[in-house]
């Protein structure tokens, strides 16, 4: 049987809207808002993980990674939201 290929799954962890994000706010206020990019109206920072999964099916790989994030508490649901994308 051919081995499944390695699929990269992207995980982004960021603070929920209710939790201040001083890094994102600083990047926006002190860099972007002072520049010419007037239509940029806000920035949220986060942590990025690229997870390599043996799979041929992006949807299945994303489900597995979401399960991993939940079970291993890769993010703290009290303060963070997570997006998983294969």
């Amino acid at each position: 049987m051919a081995k499944a290929k390695l699929l990269p799954v992207k995980v982004v962890i960021s603070n929920k809207e209710g939790a201040n994000d001083p890094e994102g706010e600083t990047i926006y206020r002190d860099l972007v808002a002072k520049s010419g990019f007037k239509r940029v109206r806000g920035i949220r920072s986060g942590k990025f993980l690229k997870v390599m999964v043996e799979s041929d099916d992006p949807k299945e790989a994303a489900r597995l990674v979401k399960k991993m994030c939940d079970e291993l508490r890769i993010y703290n649901p009290a303060a963070h939201s997570v997006t998983v994308e294969a």
Partner: protein, 235 residues
């Protein structure tokens, strides 16, 4: 009868010996330093998770230690009603292990804040504050980058209603204010406990304030927490 307390050392802990020293200064206390893989953690009368940078603070402070074998044993200690204290990184570990509510986020200033602060005692019904007065002001040092306590409005209300916000940052007159908040922590919260009051975490370091020689003003307020704990265990 001697009281046996475990201080758990993770790779990257660095306030472990200070905690052992602060505990051993109290008469009748046997404090042992235990590697986080030791099985006997669950045999102790109480457990202290010390400060430091367990597992390099990778992912976020306390997140990896929370999944180490030690924490299953610490959970057993907690669920049996025995006291568990988390200091700084130990507080982060207790939150990440789900033994305490909320989250500890990066300080609003995005800086590592290292200085002496005042905290006000808000709850004297925990294993660690029973010897203190409500409203009493303690001088303790903080030293952390991720110590901004956060909880959703509904959880925060519950914490306040049930007295689980044990310590709040205050000024030298005991007033809780924005100016006395060193990290942007919600509602000036510096330490919280579980509903039962036997599991508590705080960002300030009582072990670094347990002898007059350690403090700038000759106070030793940190020792009061450890003495409360031993008093609770012996009563």
């Amino acid at each position: 009868m001697r009281t046996n307390i475990a201080v758990v050392r993770f790779p990257g802990s660095n306030c472990d010996l200070d905690a052992v020293q602060a505990l051993r200064m109290i008469k009748g206390v046997n404090a042992d330093l235990l590697w986080h893989e030791e099985r006997s953690i669950s045999d102790y009368d109480a457990v202290v998770l010390p400060g430091g940078f367990s597992f390099g603070d990778y992912l976020r402070g306390g997140a990896i230690a929370a999944k180490s074998p030690a924490m299953e044993r610490v959970s057993k200690v907690a669920s049996s009603g025995r006291p568990v204290l988390g200091i700084c990184n130990g507080f982060q570990v207790l939150i990440e292990a789900g033994l305490l509510p909320g989250a500890l986020l990066r300080n609003t200033s995005l800086r590592f804040v290292c200085r002496w602060v005042s905290v006000r005692v808000e709850n004297t019904h925990t294993s660690f504050t029973r010897g203190l007065r409500k409203g009493q002001r303690l001088r303790l040092p903080i030293a952390h980058n991720e110590g901004r306590f956060y909880a959703s409005p509904s959880i925060l209300n519950r914490l306040k209603d049930e007295g689980q916000a044990v310590f709040r940052y205050c000024d030298e007159h005991g007033r809780v204010s924005d100016a006395a908040n060193p990290t942007g922590t919600i509602d000036n919260i510096a330490g919280v406990c579980n509903r039962e009051g036997n599991v508590m975490g705080l960002m300030p370091h009582p072990e670094r304030a347990s002898e007059p020689i350690l403090s700038p003003d000759g106070s030793a307020d940190g020792a009061l927490l450890f003495e409360s704990l031993i008093g609770w265990l012996n009563c």
